[in-house]
């Protein structure tokens, strides 16, 4: 049964929405990329036959006990540091009690009043607005549940099946402050969060595989009102696009209810991507009292100063800082800096290539333009690039030094991409090295001027743009190998 509000109120108009302010907070679950599960030694991987990656511990067998995975804790600390959180030296696991077939113990082992980390933030930027910090209330660790399978079996009309391979996968839940005011901000927050966690190397954050899951709390209030409105939780947001669509729909629905004199009900709603709407769940299903209490099977998690310092010192540079450094140290435009920090692999690649070439801006152009084009055409990611960062840097250096013309460099890169060879060896073998020798170029220039007296006359009478024609002729004569700048110099001297 849907709630009354669905039936009664029309969606709000743009004018009505403009009178309100949305208040949005996100709860994000991230699966940590450990080799084994959080409380047992079963593989933390997917795609295997149902109920094969299981043992007495993750099956919740009577008598089995959890033992905390140290690597999971380390990843969780890294996630916390990546999101500017304070890591608590002591955190406590707690049981969250509820019944569901995919939850074999009858409780989830989570953290409650003493989470792993608190007081973090993420800086987000929405086009046309100044940067804004979104607060992170807390990050806590917990184990994942399994999956109920309701179709695909011959008796699926009568029974559901349970696959417990995912049970016990390590998760962190990241809870934001209710500080976002639009679906764009929510989108930007989730993007930045995902990027930071990917940079930290704690998760692939692949939403399609469920490694990143997001619930949104949305309320609306008349502009200027201090108190929050009644909040609605939206579940099933399994892509960035759906997150934005669902929030926009929900804002419009809630304003519609408020504007038509209705009352917004505190409830959990599911986003239906086919309808593009959020739908109310039966309130009975969400009336949970989780009866949290400290998990007696685990001792409190103590994180020593040494451990924390060690993890901190090994943290990679986060995307926000890296963007700033690329702009400040390399002189990149903000757009290029953002593109080049789109993934840690790309940023690392660019960084190394730029250092090798000594010309960061030219390297940015080659990375974003030609190399990305080749990768895209081959359906490859930067991680699998046949041209290494150092090799790209060498190529760019040759261009920057005038040893190779830009035009030929494109062909050389294509060959490098194909064969994995270095630019130097391709250029040498094929004799493509740019001609910068003044003596040689002056000789060729003289031949070209002699062969084109009419154009020479034009130049001399003041139509200096004809120089381009002559440069082209020199290029033609040298099969593209002439250094354009040096050729221009030589021509100018001749035509003087």
């Amino acid at each position: 049964m849907e709630s009354m509000a669905d039936v009664a109120a029309p969606l709000a108009t743009a004018n009505q929405i403009a009178k309100y302010e949305a208040v949005i907070g996100l709860e994000v679950h991230v699966q940590l990329g450990t080799k084994t599960k959080i409380f047992c030694a079963c593989p933390n991987q997917f795609g295997d036959a149902p109920n094969t990656n299981v043992c007495p511990v993750c099956l919740g067998m009577p008598g089995a006990l959890p033992v905390l995975n140290r690597q999971a804790v380390e990843y969780a600390i890294q996630a916390a540091l990546a999101l500017n959180c304070e890591v608590r030296r002591k955190s406590v696991f707690a049981r969250k009690n509820y019944f569901y077939p995919d939850l074999p113990k009858g409780y989830q082992i989570s953290q409650y009043d003493q989470p792993l980390a608190e007081h973090g933030w993420v800086e987000v930027e929405v086009e046309g607005q100044p940067p804004k910090r979104i607060g992170i209330t807390r990050i806590h660790m917990e184990d994942d549940a399994g999956k109920n399978i309701h179709e695909g079996f011959k008796d699926s009309d009568r029974y559901s099946y349970v696959d417990l391979n995912r049970t016990g996968s390590p998760l962190v839940e990241i809870v934001s402050e209710p500080e976002m005011r639009s679906s764009d901000e929510a989108f930007a927050y989730l993007s930045e969060l995902k990027l930071a966690l990917q940079f930290a190397g704690v998760s692939s954050c692949d939403m399609e595989k469920g490694h990143l899951r997001c619930d949104a709390n949305v309320s609306v209030r008349p502009r200027g009102q201090a108190e929050f409105g009644t909040k609605v939780e939206i579940k099933n947001l399994n892509s960035f696009r759906f997150l934005k669509q669902a929030i926009d729909f929900e804002i419009s629905r809630q304003v519609g209810v408020a504007e038509s004199g209705g009352k917004i009900v505190q409830e959990t709603r599911l986003y239906d991507p086919v309808l593009g709407e959020t739908l109310g769940m039966r309130s009975k299903e969400e009336a949970h009292d989780y009866r949290y209490f400290p998990e007696p099977d685990l001792v409190p998690l103590l994180i020593s100063d040494e451990w924390l310092a060690r993890v901190k010192s090994a943290m990679p540079e986060m995307p926000a800082l890296r963007r700033k450094r690329f702009a400040a140290d390399y002189g990149l435009r903000p757009y290029d800096a953002a593109v080049l920090t789109g993934s840690r692999a790309l940023a690392d690649f660019y960084d190394e290539a730029a250092k090798t070439s000594g010309d960061p801006r030219l390297t940015a152009n080659w990375t974003i333009g030609d190399l990305q084009g080749l990768l895209k055409g081959a359906g490859k990611e930067i991680e699998d690039s046949p041209v290494s960062a150092a090799r790209l840097g060498e190529l760019v250096a040759m261009v920057a030094n005038g040893e190779l013309t830009g035009k030929l460099a494109k062909d050389v890169l294509a060959k490098m991409f194909e064969t994995g060879e270095s630019a130097v060896s391709i250029v040498e073998r094929e004799g493509l090295k740019a001609i910068s020798d003044t003596g040689v170029l002056e000789k060729i220039a003289a031949q070209v001027v002699e062969a084109n007296p009419k154009q020479a006359e034009q130049y001399r009478s003041g139509k200096t743009s004809v120089i381009q024609f002559f440069v082209g002729q020199v290029m033609k004569a040298t099969r593209g190998q002439a250094n354009p700048a040096a050729a221009t110099e030589a021509l100018k001297k001749l035509l003087g």
Partner: protein, 480 residues
Amino acid sequence: METGKLTIAQIQAGLRSKQFSAVELAESALAFAEAENPKTNAYLLLAADRALASARRVDAKLSAGEDPGPLAGVPTGIKDVIVTKGLRTTCGSKLLEKFVPPYDATAVARIENAGGVLLGKLNCDEFAMGSSNENSAFGPVRNPAAPDRVPGGSSGGSAAAVAQGTAVVALGSDTGGSIRQPASFCGVVGVTPTYGRVSRYGLVAFASSLDHIGPLARNVDDAATLLGVIAGRDPMDSTSAFAPVQDYRAAMHLPVRGMKIGLPKEYFEGLTSDTRLQIEKGVRLLRQEGCEVLEVSLPHTPYAIACYYIICTAEASSNLARYDGVKYTIRSSRAQTLQDMYRMTRGEGFGAECKRRIMLGTYVLSAGYYDAYYLKAQKVRALIARDFERAFETVDALVTPVSPFPAFKLGEKLDDPIQMYLSDIYTITGSLAGIPCMSVPCGATSEGLPVGMQILTRHFDEPGMFRLAAHFERAGGFTL
């Protein structure tokens, strides 16, 4: 061969002098258990194949000149809340009547690695909840000393089997007195070690922060030997202690002259005159052995029962959630929907005492009640532990009765849970504090019902406890 009276030391001597082989001993013990069990209903299952396989391994080692281990050939019973690979483990519950665990508890594995022969699984109160063994779905256990009386609980089967001689030693579990109280009712030795001393891996949880595995035996030496085998850090149990395991048997021979014994005055109120008389006799014996006896006070004792029944029910309500009809439990055949499956399976499967505790525990953890009940109980628990710490500043050990009364008649307290809970009034404080405590036989009432004396010592001072118990046993001659 009278398997019913052998000690571990006698078995070791017999095996080494080739008086009997481990297989002969196992065969004889199995036959004896099968013949005698109907008198008590202590065993729910005899594991002949597994026992004989273990015995053959022991014999092979002996003939190869290898050390077969400190428990070589010892017929051992296992309380049915401790899981055994391939052997049905019911926890005394109808819900688990078809549950065959895929793994062994750490304590079980250690016993078999030490040469122990796992004879079978022992009856108990459902999920270890009870003080009379009448809460078993597979029938009550009778007290070998008085067949119309209960053996105590929840480890009633373990105490009865050891008393009856159908096991040389047995594993029990203790949450609030479930080893010590039945040991006292049946006249055997029962040990609840320090919390964390023995791994709980494979002990089906009732109240995790209070659950212990411990030995039951006919004498202190056997109990010390068995504890020495099962004690020690286990990476599979995060709450198990790193402290090295001491030599408990060696400690038994240290002198007790000059040891200071405290008698907490709160433990000598409200007990029956027969029990009081026996404990007073026991205390006199300790004085004669040269112990210095003084009165002490544990002032928070009156809050122990309330505190205990909040914490243990809260944890139980969560621990018992997994018996939901989805996996290894039986499933109600009437269920049509998911909610039905939960309600009917649990409604039909759990006995009255489990339901009572699940409801109590669910209530005390509920939103709005947590602080008033659970949190407060945890604070009281800390105060009770502090009482013991203070007492141990002046004394080396405490001595109390195990239970206010001896074994009662079957059915006598079944309709009165509060009376039933009171039979653990002297044992739950030690459980809440997590300190080592044990029951040693201390004579019998005029009706011939065994009385047990409880000895409590500091955390990890099992050596001090065994030392006192062994001297008491030698001086008194109360042991079976």
